[in-house]
């Protein structure tokens, strides 16, 4: 049975102090936390379940915890995560997975602009659509978009892979449409099986960097 933390009317320090103690004992359900920004920051382990919506910066610096959001997440979800898993059942705002070094983020709804900006190694999966400037300055990792993307997808892509099942409004600077390999298909199948996503990898396209020197036009 999960422990329950009621965040109603409380500030970040108060809730966080209780949460840090509780996660060591087992999964923790946190309620009424949409007003708190930076919740579950830098956790090394444990499981946190956010009932309802979450605020901004949920799971920032996450270093191994599993965090689930039952409804929508705010901006900068799992900012600068290094390890762990963050799953959102609804939509997520601007800057999902910004600056991440590792771990996995799954957004079952849509994600905002600048998703995966400066991603340095995380796997970020968006089942719905994403906004503009997604994967800008990405250095490593995978971004999987099952739906559609807005403008400047992969702008100034440095390294890493973008897989997209839908369409995009425009591609950004230094992007190249590449052949899907068997390894790519297997990787996508693995992601879809693991997170219960209904999608056909063979319909996906892969985008990689065009040049090793993205900053010289």
């Amino acid at each position: 049975m999960s422990l329950v933390v009621d965040a109603r009317g409380r500030d970040l320090r108060s809730v966080s102090t209780e949460l840090k103690g509780a996660v060591a004992k087992g999964p923790v359900v946190i309620q009424e936390a949409a007003h708190l920004h930076g919740l579950a920051a830098g956790f090394r382990s444990g499981e946190v379940i956010v009932e309802g919506d979450s605020g901004d910066y949920l799971g920032v610096l996450n270093d191994g915890a599993t965090i689930r959001v039952k409804e929508n997440a705010g901006r900068y979800l799992a900012d600068n995560m290094t390890r762990g898993t963050v799953i959102v059942e609804g939509d997520a705002g601007y800057g999902v997975g910004a600056y991440c070094y590792g771990g996995t983020i799954v957004v079952r709804g849509n994600a905002g602009d600048f998703t995966a900006v400066m991603n340095k190694g995380a796997t970020i999966i968006v089942v719905g659509d994403v906004g503009d400037e997604v994967a800008t300055y990405m250095l490593a990792g995978d971004l999987v978009i099952v739906g559609n993307a807005g403008q400047n997808l992969g702008n100034y892509l440095i390294r890493g892979h973008i897989y997209i099942g839908g369409k995009w409004e425009s591609l950004g600077h230094n992007t190249l449409l590449a052949e899907m390999t068997q390894a790519d298909l297997a990787k996508l199948r693995g992601y879809f099986d693991e997170y219960g996503i209904e999608a056909d990898p063979t319909t996906f396209k892969k985008i990689v960097r065009l040049s090793e020197k993205p900053f010289y036009k």
């Binding site: 920051a41 090394r44 910066y57 610096l61 996450n62 270093d63 290094t82 601007y94 070094y101 800008t136």
Partner: protein, 513 residues
Amino acid sequence: MPPVNGTFCVTVMKDRCINARMPGKCAACVEVCPYEVFAIDGAGTVRVQNYNACVGCRICAEFCPEDAIRINPAESEFLVRSPWTFPQVEEIHHKAQTGQYMLRGFGTMGYAPSFDNITVVPSQIASPAPRDKYREECNLEVVIGEETCENPIRLRYPFLFPAMSFGAVSREARMALSIGAAQTGIINNTGEGGLLRDETWLIKGYENEERTLKRWQPGGYLVVQWSTGRWGVSADYVRAGDGVEVKIGQGAKPGMGGHLLGAKVTAEIAAVRGIPVGSDALSPCRYYDVQDLEDMKRMVAFLRDVTDYKVPIFFKLGPSRPYADVRACVEAGADAISIDGLVGGTGASPAIVTQGVGIPTVALIPPSVQALKDMGVHRRVKLFVLGGMRDGLDAYKAMAMGADGVGFGAAAEIAMGCRACMACHSGRCPYGITSQDPELRARLDPEEAGDRLANFIKATAEELKILTMLSGHDDIKDLSEEDLRAMDLNTAAITGLKLIGYERRLPWWEVGQ
């Protein structure tokens, strides 16, 4: 292409030069000059191949075993040709030939309003008597985060080594800075290039990773930087610091980010920054996870939470609109603010930016201090002034104007051996400070350089103490504007200090906002 200067005359005295007497025997000048002023031909003879490239750093003269090289300024030509000076003409040619702008390191050169036209007012009969430097004590300690943090920083001296990242400087330089800080009880800031494991124990004065051998007292403080590129940043990184600095800007290139070219991202740098070898490391000009001041407050809140409310939060500002920027930092939750002036800049930057963008250091202080006073936090939120600070005299003046401390960036590099050749961006630093070349890095002994840094800080602290005591104080917190006078109208107008002789502020002066 090196910055063509053309303002120095290079003379090699043949009767002293070993190579002139014995071709092939010595080429120290060729090896150390970062601008290839000297060359060696097939017969082993050294010659001056490019007089105009000399920037006057005199590294060649330092390394010449026979003291055979003289470098003399040639200002007269420089002055009469202005504005079409030789460097300006050559810069235009460079851009016309390559389509690229000039890069340069080491901050602004030439005239900018400075502390030089401010004088210290000593104590005499009408003011508290001078303090006796030998018998009496003088408190130089500064505490940061005393009211907000479980583990406040207690600086023995009101100084810090500001952010100089691994990548911009060598591993050896980073280690030296930590050793120097450990010996003097001050701050060393990681910059945005990640954290070297060695620094975490060196900064506390230990000479081994197991922390069993304490060698340097009293131990210093490591401030880890949180920046727009977020290189090597993790929860462990943030927790490794005695403080966390949120970087907004820097003096060398305010309004710009940074860019470590892929060619410079060696295996060691890649490991520390957590990116692939050879990958460009771009630090954007702004945060992609901050859109307004409310976000900045939230960022400070989660940084405090991750560090369990134990360590202070610093902000680092470039020279822009000091009153409004300092206010914003305080609103965001800063425990300390470092503000970097136009003159500052150890980092490589477009020459036009480092030379012509930002506010001179001395002019940043009055509006910054006023902002802190208006918010009721002066002396509680600590203000550190950076940018061209050279000695205890500069430090005294900045602190009497209301700062709580100062940072030494360029001066720290010079203390390690640098002679300001401005080749930081080239990777060919003759002293191994700003180079990643193993051969050049081998020239910098971290312990020796750390000792030199400690000596510099101790001597500078003594200078500050002398000035504090001769002006009748026994605590740096008691310094005030009354201890200073402006020596010309321009300085009085910029600083609001009383003008010498006139003994009043300029009647129309009010602090800018």
